[in-house]
């Protein structure tokens, strides 16, 4: 039951924000509804830990370890981004009078993000992923500046182009399921059970199409070109959601289908996942070296991390899967913090160019501290959680005999680390160019940053028992041996 509330509260919030008398308090409505939704997501995760899965409506809304983890992440990131949005809409936006429209749309996006991992049927997952794209496109173009509209258009064309491709892939999956005697009610659980009897050629064809179609939405190279544009032009709270979680949710769908394929004894595609993952990491590492806009820098780092998760899942071992899901968790919480830090720099200085930001520690110690912490964490410095998960991925790769892939991955991670730290170093230290005091950071933004920083700091040194069990359950669901 908790799952239903967690899914539909954002939808209710969207409706409330749209009602005319309540438009003035849209921010409060959003924050309250999303916080309650988060509480119910935690409850759902607890239920999954106790009994293995949570079934709200059988065949429609179900959650196992992997879904519960993604739902929890969506809820956490989106609630904090909503709190951050309060300060942003009052101080940074050009469209203040349309803020109710922003919150309405934002709640719809959160609804779509939560419902995808909860859907039990792959065809409905497709519908959910397309809804995410639609609402995200509208939010990227929210500021209606030429840059924002250009970014929204590129994002719409490249990601919606993937829609018919992945649709054909999922219909082929249904064909495989139906023709091997699975009936018409297709669910992920049913697919796991039937995988060994489905024609392997058809499974591979289906995975190829879904990989291309959803991969465009994840931002995997070479379909990543929309991502830095959208992430640099969108309103800051939306950047945090786009980079932190909107890329993770289609990746969840890809990994879910990959685990179905792993359950089939004849279809072997793990090594292709490793190759494509390394390609994304490589492209991202090279682009990170020459980037000049700090929001684009964090966007390229998202491409890098998506590639790392793909490589880890491609190892097809339990240790690799554990690395993949913990990288998913750590990337979401850390990347949203990165964009809050970047957003505060933008709020106080009004420029996105790395070269124009100097001596940030003197101008705004709070924003500078947040930027330093989040950049160290996202680049993978110890003792932050991404260091731990990247380390476990590399060791899992060595144990499963992917020595060359591990060597390449390690080099690329180091290149990305150096690139990010070199850029951030220039922004933080040195003499500020102007002596005018920066705009103070709004209270709601400070709150969001402080809360977002807690898991980033804590998970690096101590992983609580329930979190570990949830990651363990999610990794089992990915089906590596």
């Amino acid at each position: 039951m908790g799952l239903i509330v967690a899914i539909f509260l954002p939808l209710l919030a969207a409706l409330l924000c749209w009602l005319k008398p309540l438009r003035k308090i849209a921010w409060g409505t959003t924050v309250i509804c999303l916080s309650i939704s988060f509480a119910f997501a935690v409850m759902t995760a607890g239920q999954v830990l106790r009994s293995g899965r949570a079934v709200a409506i059988a065949g429609w809304f179900e959650a196992d370890g992997l879904s519960a983890l993604v739902i929890l992440l969506v809820s956490f990131v989106c609630t904090l981004a909503a709190i951050f949005a309060g300060g942003y809409m009052r101080h940074g936006s050009h469209q203040r009078e349309r803020s109710w429209w922003f919150y309405c749309n934002y709640n719809l996006l959160v609804f779509a993000l939560i419902v995808v991992p909860a859907f039990a049927s792959p065809n409905l997952v497709w519908v959910g992923v397309e809804l995410i794209t639609l609402f995200a496109t509208l939010l990227v173009g929210f500021e209606s500046t030429p840059g924002a509209l250009e970014a929204a258009w590129k994002m719409a064309i490249l990601t919606i182009m993937g829609a018919p491709i992945s649709l054909l892939g999922l219909l082929a999956l249904y064909w495989a399921y139906h023709s091997s005697g699975g009936g018409t009610a297709e669910t992920w659980q049913g697919l796991y059970a039937m995988a060994s009897t489905m024609p392997p050629n058809l499974l591979k064809f289906s995975f190829l199409l879904v990989f291309v179609g959803f991969g465009a939405k994840v931002g995997l190279a070479p379909m990543h070109t929309w991502l830095p544009d959208a992430h640099s032009q969108a309103p800051t709270p939306i950047c945090a959601v786009l980079s932190g979680i909107k890329t993770t949710v289609p990746l969840y769908a890809i990994l879910r289908l990959f685990s179905v394929i792993l359950a089939s004894p004849e279809a072997r595609i793990g090594n292709w996942m490793v190759v494509f993952g390394l390609f994304s990491v490589g492209i991202a590492a090279l682009l990170l070296l020459q980037v000049r806009d700090y929001k684009r820098m964090f966007a390229f780092s998202t491409v890098e991390h998506m590639g790392i998760i793909l490589v880890a899942a491609g190892f097809a071992t339990h240790a690799g899967d554990y690395g993949a899901v913990s990288q998913m968790l750590n990337h979401s919480i850390t990347k949203s913090l990165c964009f809050y830090a970047a957003g505060m720099v933008l709020l106080s200085l009004g420029t996105r160019q790395i070269s124009e930001v100097r001596g940030l520690f003197r101008i705004s110690p709070f924003a500078g501290g947040a930027l330093l912490l989040s950049s160290l964490a996202i680049a993978g410095a110890p003792p932050f959680p991404i260091f731990l998960s990247e380390f476990s991925i590399l060791s899992a790769g060595l144990r499963s005999g992917h020595n060359v892939a591990v060597a390449i991955l390690a080099v690329l991670i180091v290149v990305a680390f150096i690139a990010i730290m070199r850029q951030v170093n220039g922004m933080l230290f040195g003499e500020p160019e102007s002596t005018t005091p920066a705009e103070p950071v709004p209270l709601s933004c400070r709150t969001a940053v402080l809360v977002a920083a807690i898991p980033v700091v804590v998970l690096g040194v101590y992983i609580p028992g329930p979190v570990h069990s949830l990651l363990e359950l999610a990794a089992q669901q990915l089906g590596g041996h």
Binding site: S121, N123, L124, W126, V127, E130, L131, L134, T137, L138, G141, S144, T145, P146, G147, L149, E150, A151, A152, W153, K154, A156, I157, I160, M161, A163, P164, I165, L167, L168, L171, A172, Y174, W175, H178, S179, T184, A185, P199, N201, L202, F205, P228, D229, S232, Q233, L287, Q290, V291, R292, R296
Partner: protein, 228 residues
């Protein structure tokens, strides 16, 4: 249903498949925005015809519903909404700039159609159903040719029609391989497709109002600029 009737329906379905491929080539070969739109409407009509034929022969109410939705949305709804919301000069006597000229484009489209046939041939070994043997390769060819016209054309409206044509391809393959998909999933997918069209339409209008043109080529502010 008698054997002769089944054969007639299979023959008619193969005919619509050929016509769908032909309209896909037509979209690649046309230079006017309005012409591309007309080819798209005709293609959607053939898609609906195929859904009706297969729905009739397999006794599937879902496919009949899907055919009706296709006519309502793609033949009537989307063209009407676009004409109402978009400024007239986006439509009339507008020539499309292309990266590759039309004869080479047609040749590439032909190669894509052959590639589609080649790609699905291992899958067709698993089934004897003649409808799938026709619809799956043509549907995939429709997707690939739509994707090509999307990449080659640098103008908002034809790009959008390219996406809708790709969807037609996916549906055309889908009516054959997933003809008994639960109605609710089918409806959800069909409504989603309409939503996509509406959102892109709104975005196109905003762009033409703010930037003053819908040539995607002129939208190139955002990219990685080289170091000075």
């Amino acid at each position: 249903m008698t054997g002769a009737q089944t054969q007639l329906i299979e023959g008619l379905n193969a005919l619509t498949a050929g016509l769908i491929l032909l309209t896909a080539f037509g979209m690649v070969a046309t230079r006017q925005v309005q012409g591309v739109m007309r080819f798209f409407v005709v293609q959607s009509l053939f898609l609906a015809a195929s859904a009706f034929l297969i729905g009739f022969s397999r006794g599937s109410i879902h496919l009949l519903a899907l055919g009706a939705i296709t006519i309502a949305a793609k033949v009537i709804g989307i063209p009407w909404v676009l004409k109402r919301t978009l400024p007239g000069d986006l439509y009339e006597r507008r020539e499309i700039n292309q990266v590759i000229n039309i004869p080479s484009s047609l040749l590439l489209a032909l190669l894509l159609a052959i590639a589609a046939e080649f790609l699905v041939s291992p899958l067709l070994a698993t089934t004897q159903d003649p409808v799938i043997h026709v619809n799956l390769p043509i549907g995939l060819a429709g997707i690939l040719i739509g994707a090509y016209s999307l990449i080659a054309r640098r103008e908002a409206l034809p790009q959008m029609v390219g996406i809708l044509a790709m969807e037609n391809g996916a549906f055309f393959a889908g009516v054959a391989i997933a003809s008994d998909l639960p109605l609710i999933a089918e409806l959800a997918i069909a409504i989603d497709v309409i939503l996509i069209a509406v959102v892109i339409g709104v975005l196109t209008r905003n762009i033409s109002q703010t930037i003053g043109t819908t040539e995607a080529a002129s939208m190139s502010e955002l990219r990685e600029k080289p170091w000075d």
